[in-house]
Symmetry: D2
Subunit: 144 residues, 4 copies
Amino acid sequence: MFVGRHAIEVGWGDCDPARIVFFPRYFEWFEICTTALFRAAGLPLHAMFAERNMVGIPLLDVGARFHFGSGYGHILEVESRIVEWKAKTFRVEHRFFRDGGLAVEGHEVRVWAVPDPTGEKPMRAAPIPPDVVARFMDQRVESA
Amino acid sequence: MFVGRHAIEVGWGDCDPARIVFFPRYFEWFEICTTALFRAAGLPLHAMFAERNMVGIPLLDVGARFHFGSGYGHILEVESRIVEWKAKTFRVEHRFFRDGGLAVEGHEVRVWAVPDPTGEKPMRAAPIPPDVVARFMDQRVESA
Amino acid sequence: MFVGRHAIEVGWGDCDPARIVFFPRYFEWFEICTTALFRAAGLPLHAMFAERNMVGIPLLDVGARFHFGSGYGHILEVESRIVEWKAKTFRVEHRFFRDGGLAVEGHEVRVWAVPDPTGEKPMRAAPIPPDVVARFMDQRVESA
Amino acid sequence: MFVGRHAIEVGWGDCDPARIVFFPRYFEWFEICTTALFRAAGLPLHAMFAERNMVGIPLLDVGARFHFGSGYGHILEVESRIVEWKAKTFRVEHRFFRDGGLAVEGHEVRVWAVPDPTGEKPMRAAPIPPDVVARFMDQRVESA
């Protein structure tokens, strides 16, 4: 399975008065890691959205479990995988490691969204193109 | 059960190029709604942390499901409840309504954290004081 | 001159490990206070953008001076005024008070932006409609 | 003069419904670029704060001018310099380039902050150590 790897350095403004990461920041990093994962697979999202006339890949479901906290200056090594593809949605899993330990793990379920042709809604779900799925199925590829 | 109610107006900077709320913002609002819930119960967190020598109430687990998106200028009405108390942790549930529909629902599992007396860790879990739990058990009280 | 007033409670996630507000948050509050100022003048931005086919009111220039820090649970009382109107831009000034003292002061220069009819750019500056300026000139009106 | 260089990729969540960067994000990037500048000079802030018993380097004054907007997927190349050292404060200037053009320029005036020995305030200004200033004066060094 295709594994994206991304390193994050915890910034001063990411941390709260308890001197650990304020938890919503992890979800901003989920977004960044999913973006990095698609780029590593040869599908940069900003180009893909434009080329395929997509609205985006908004979330249906997201969650995280926090095993230990991290603070200013810490380096988090994140592994991201798409573990499931359905017709119109896919599930990403992220694992954040620090100093070899699993600090945080989480998932996202995202939907392939295109403009609603009726104009009644801002977007609607659409089938994920097979060539996109295929990009992540090549076992030999791994993000640097 | 004690129900906290809090209204949130979606701001310009909360929304992304798809013109809907960027999902990590909901978790910032979870934090704000949990803060509002404790205040409504007569336990403002900032004062409680100081008076009881607490580090905070960091998260162990968090999740959300998104039923429909909201955009700039929308008003979200949030209901928050603590649905479970354990010895050292508690579970909060939030429900975000817009125009009468359930837009987002989520949960937080938080831990009662005090300074680690050994100084080896930044904090440790501690038993939740019974008077805190009792504040939320009074059926007659409801947040304005 | 029309004065908008808005109260902000400093949240846990707004503060950094030094236990004071992480400074970019003040600029998020500038946005919120400018939004509140227009609403108080009877011109809610989200409706105005839609009705007048505007892209928004992006910034040309912004600055802040910090006189003393504030922390978790503090209440900031903000006064906002539009101090200058030019043909296509306007200048907003914000003053943040805490416990009667001037904690932060800042300004924004914003431009009236509409879609570029040529489609070459995402937006272009346009003349500010006189009825908008007039709304802020009524000396008798003051935001609650 | 020592020049720090840092590249930033604009993320989805950095952009607003006008499809350009929501301006407070630039100030989060100022923080990140100042952090990168100190690291490039051999003084990583998180280590320096711990070793020298500092509270941090909070801001006294900050400002930015926006020449053109940037959007999702754009790469911003930032140059950062400390252009002035005073006894207890210093001034950083940042210039953001995109596609060779100057998109944003800004400044920060920051203060060297240590714990207040009287305990009355959260921090007080202190003289900047000469060895810190000297690190930035070496003309031969330049960040990669």
